[in-house]
């Protein structure tokens, strides 16, 4: 699904990614983890073509993404911070994204799932952070693309919406889609993801299942396993 070879990226003097090699197979939920500033978002944005790498090749479904915009038709992306043009109404934004990407009928089911009907005619500037995130989720999940990328999807969501989100993710997985998630909430990651990609200092430090990471670090639970990787690395 996604192949990354020898990816390098630096922002002026700050080296963020230094030689990332990653192969993500079709189907399943992959969590991209790592401490703050380890390059998770940069990696995801490189896949989306928003960050332009200094070196390396990225292929999405065997298509080189360099100087290519069309491949993004196959990706649904949930950005980390949901901020939309404040003059637009929720309904207008949804219509606009549909206009840009193509027709879909999924939006109505998603709107009622997240209880967004009362907000449809409100301007985006007046919505709370959590409601904006729900709109963001509707925009992401209303298209049927084989690759779904979620950057911190849980931000600002109330418990009910969080349950809906988990159900949605499982539903998409059942359709055979590939889902990439970044999150800092370890319980969420442990619950939903099949495989972990751990980034440290611009390299892939670990790739495998949750049980593998637990047995490698000899820790009983996932949160401590991640913490032990981080502390080990600090000593070294």
């Amino acid at each position: 699904m996604v192949t990354i070879e020898n990816l390098h990226k630096r922002f002026s003097k700050n080296i963020v990614l230094s030689g990332v090699n990653l192969e993500i197979k079709s189907g399943g939920i992959f969590a991209v983890l790592g401490p703050n500033g380890s390059g998770k978002t940069t990696l995801i944005k490189s896949i989306l073509g928003m960050v332009i790498p200094n070196k390396g090749i990225i292929k999405v479904m065997d298509e080189n993404i360099k100087k290519n915009a069309h491949y993004r038709n196959k990706i649904d992306y949930l950005p980390q911070i949901a901020n939309f043009p404040s003059n637009l109404k929720v309904k207008e934004l949804i219509t606009m994204i549909k206009d840009l990407r193509g027709a879909t009928n999924e939006d109505e089911a998603l709107i009622s799932l997240f209880g967004l009907e009362p907000f449809l005619n409100k301007k985006l500037g007046t919505l709370s952070g959590g409601t904006k995130q729900k709109v963001n989720l509707v925009l992401t999940f209303m298209f049927d693309s084989p690759l779904v990328i979620l950057d911190e999807p849980t931000t600002g969501l109330d418990p009910i919406s969080l349950i809906h989100l988990k159900e949605l993710i499982q539903k998409e997985k059942a359709k055979g889609k590939t889902i990439l998630i970044t999150s800092h909430i370890m319980s969420f990651v442990e619950e939903v993801s099949d495989e972990i990609v751990f980034i440290l200092e611009g390299k892939i430090y670990f790739k495998g299942t949750i049980s593998e990471i637990k047995s490698n670090t000899k820790q009983p639970d996932f949160e401590h396993a991640i913490a032990s990787i981080l502390t080990q690395n600090n000593h070294a």
């Binding site: 922002f11 944005k45 989306l48 960050v51 993004r72 990706i75 901020n83 043009p85 840009l100």
Partner: protein, 260 residues
């Protein structure tokens, strides 16, 4: 690109600032007509205002729009759209809505005053065309500055400096160089110098067309002497078009290499 243009334009014509800008021009047109009580004179006064104000508004609006719609741009970047169409669409949205405010805001009072029955109509149209050119040029320059500066404050600072330089400082330097080198033949230098600044060029263009020798500066005199009115007009327009094309080309080139 047309879709982005449509939404940017739609977003802008509903924002309060577009109406403030429109209302300002309406008021300016009405006040000038009342004070001058003559269409041709009002056009001349209007020129002096437009030449300075339109670039300022274009610059500030351009920078402001770019920084304000940053998150929205990121949303668009994740869609299957080419980068150049996103940024050119947004640029055209800003430039078109500003030009529309200018044309409608000034047009309404002048039309009601009897523009179509007077012979000032060509001068007035020229004024609006130049104003539109200046809007397109300075909005494009503003987008260039904003694309090159992540820091909002820096971006605003450079944009204001650019306007100050082209609207005020450039003229000062130009005059000083003419005084210092007055012993040398300066015709070509002054011609060249006025081409390099779109504000000077627009002023010369309108003055040439208005044919008011009392207001002709040194650059205008040289233009008139060397090109004659019609040829000067064509050359000036060609240079104005280049002034639009170059920054627009750089918007598209710069946006392709930028990280978001």
């Amino acid at each position: 690109m047309l879709k982005i243009l449509k939404y940017s334009f739609y977003d802008l014509i509903r924002s309060r600032w577009s109406y403030v800008y429109l209302a300002f021009y309406l008021l300016l047109g009405i006040v000038l007509l009342f004070l001058n009580n003559d269409l041709s004179k009002a056009v001349i006064t209007l020129m002096n205002v437009i030449i300075v104000l339109v670039p300022l508004i274009g610059t500030i609006f351009g920078v402001m729009y770019y920084y304000n719609s940053k998150e929205f741009t990121e949303l668009l970047l994740a869609q299957p759209l080419r980068r150049s169409s996103i940024f050119l669409g947004q640029y055209l949205g800003v430039a078109l809505s500003l030009s529309m405010s200018l044309i409608i805001g000034l047009g309404i009072p002048f039309v009601f005053y009897g523009l179509f029955k007077s012979n000032a109509i060509w001068n007035f149209s020229l004024l609006l065309i130049t104003g539109t050119f200046l809007t397109f040029i300075f909005t494009a320059l503003a987008f260039n500055i904003a694309l090159s500066n992540e820091n909002k404050i820096k971006g605003f600072g450079y944009a204001i400096l650019l306007w100050l330089f082209l609207a005020v400082i450039y003229d000062g330097l130009f005059l000083m160089s003419l005084i210092i080198f007055e012993d040398y033949p300066l015709d070509k230098l002054s011609l060249f110098g006025s081409m390099l600044n779109p504000i000077d060029l627009s002023r010369t263009l309108i003055l040439l067309k208005l044919d008011i020798s009392a207001l002709l500066g040194y650059t205008g005199a040289v233009f008139k002497k060397f090109f004659g009115t019609n040829f000067g007009l064509i050359v000036s327009f060609a240079v104005l078009i280049i002034w639009v094309m170059l920054p627009v080309w750089r918007i598209s080139a710069k946006s392709k290499k930028k990280d978001f």
